[in-house]
């Protein structure tokens, strides 16, 4: 705890802040003993505050920003682009009778 923060002030004030912050931290950790696991938890089980479609987007984005890659995503994007290209080609080939 003593290295948690640097604060250039008179020593008694600094000491008081450090001891109270330590108590506060104990209080947080009592409520949530493993905060990192709790954060990871929101990516394993959908919180009620978020809709399914947004939740899936969040999972992809979290993976992207925490690990740097999303396995399978480039393949999905390439496949989607390919299929869309084929669809446009086919559409162009079919005469427009309207």
């Amino acid at each position: 705890m003593s290295t948690l923060f640097s604060f250039d002030a008179d020593s008694s004030l600094e000491k008081q802040i450090r001891s109270e912050a330590r108590e506060e931290l104990k209080h947080f950790l009592k409520k949530e003993p493993d905060p990192d696991a709790a954060f990871r938890g929101i990516f394993n089980r959908r919180p009620k505050t978020i809709r399914w479609s947004n939740y899936l987007r969040l999972k992809i984005l979290h993976r992207q920003f925490s690990k740097g890659t999303v396995p399978g995503l480039p393949v999905i994007v390439r496949s989607a682009r390919f299929l869309y290209g084929r669809y446009r080609n086919l559409k162009r080939m079919i005469p427009d009778n309207s």
Binding site: L4, F7, D8, A9, I17, A21, E24, L25, N54
Partner: protein, 376 residues
Amino acid sequence: MRHVHSTQGMVIHQYHFSVSPGDAITNQMFFIYRSLRQAGIESRIYADHIRGGLSKWVNRFNEAELWNCDLLLLHHSHGNPQLQKLLGIEVPKALIYHNITPEHFFRHDPHMWNLCRIGRSQLKLIRQAVSTTFVDSRFNGRELKDLGFTDPIHFPLFDIGVMMAEVSNSQPRREKGKIKLLFVGKIAPHKNQIALLRTLSYLPPEYELTLVGSADPIYLDYVKLTARALGVHSRVQILGKVPEKDLKRAYQESWAFLSTSLHEGFGVPLIEAMVHQLPVFAINSGAVAETLDDAGVLFNTEKPWELAAVLKTFLAHPEAIKAAIARQNQRLEALRAGESQERVQTICRDLVHHLRVVPECDWKKEAANIARQLET
């Protein structure tokens, strides 16, 4: 040999690839521009990408117009497609280095990833072409020294005296019953706004967070969705890029400035927060410790629950906040001499005089000498 001791006929131009309102580099360019014009030195700003209606004051890059200047100040913060052309202009050049964000923060954005990577590799070319190197922090200076640059010297980013005078009459407009935390900076992975949201999630409901700054759209989406998943979305206000008066208001309404940024080349918002008499709480990364220099509260941890515990304790102690602000004001006073208009004028004038006096000799070496003298 020609001795010129006045600024008459002196021309110093600046170039950066892009300019946009509110951006720290653009602000510095305008600050230098004003300082030079006030000293009677002719000066113009050139850029390739001119955004936000700045074309009234900024000229589109034109090689031919830059050939007649005494000194070209080359701002560098990412890859510059015009670099070869710029380096081909045979006028004395000085680099103002603003730091390049490490590309690993932009794995989601191939364009930015490339710009950062190219920007770093271009530094080698720039090193061979410039007479003097300027940096806004020692942190940036160390980075350049590692790349073989000799003696980068400090160049002011703004005039702290002017900034302090502008906000001297402003009063805090804090809402009762709410404790607003503020962060100003681009909403982007290296600024780590996710840690701010996580910190907020440990704090009681009266704590709110305001985010100011332009946004990387993909990261912004991530921030918004994470806020929702953490259940703090109703306590987070994302203002985006705002005009000067709204930024001032955001500072006035806040109780503290909280930064969890993982990369700072200097940290202009830290100074702005200090000027607005806000206590600054920041993670020790990049140039943050150097900018604060024992002022404010520097976190030696990145764990959001630890940040929340420290922040909550501090904000419950008005005497601690008072002590932090008093120390911050001392820091601002210490910065005053180095971050001023006069300093810009002295550096530029001395450098150009020297380059004019010794045109035949090794002006690169001579410029380095004058830079050393200025430093002392």
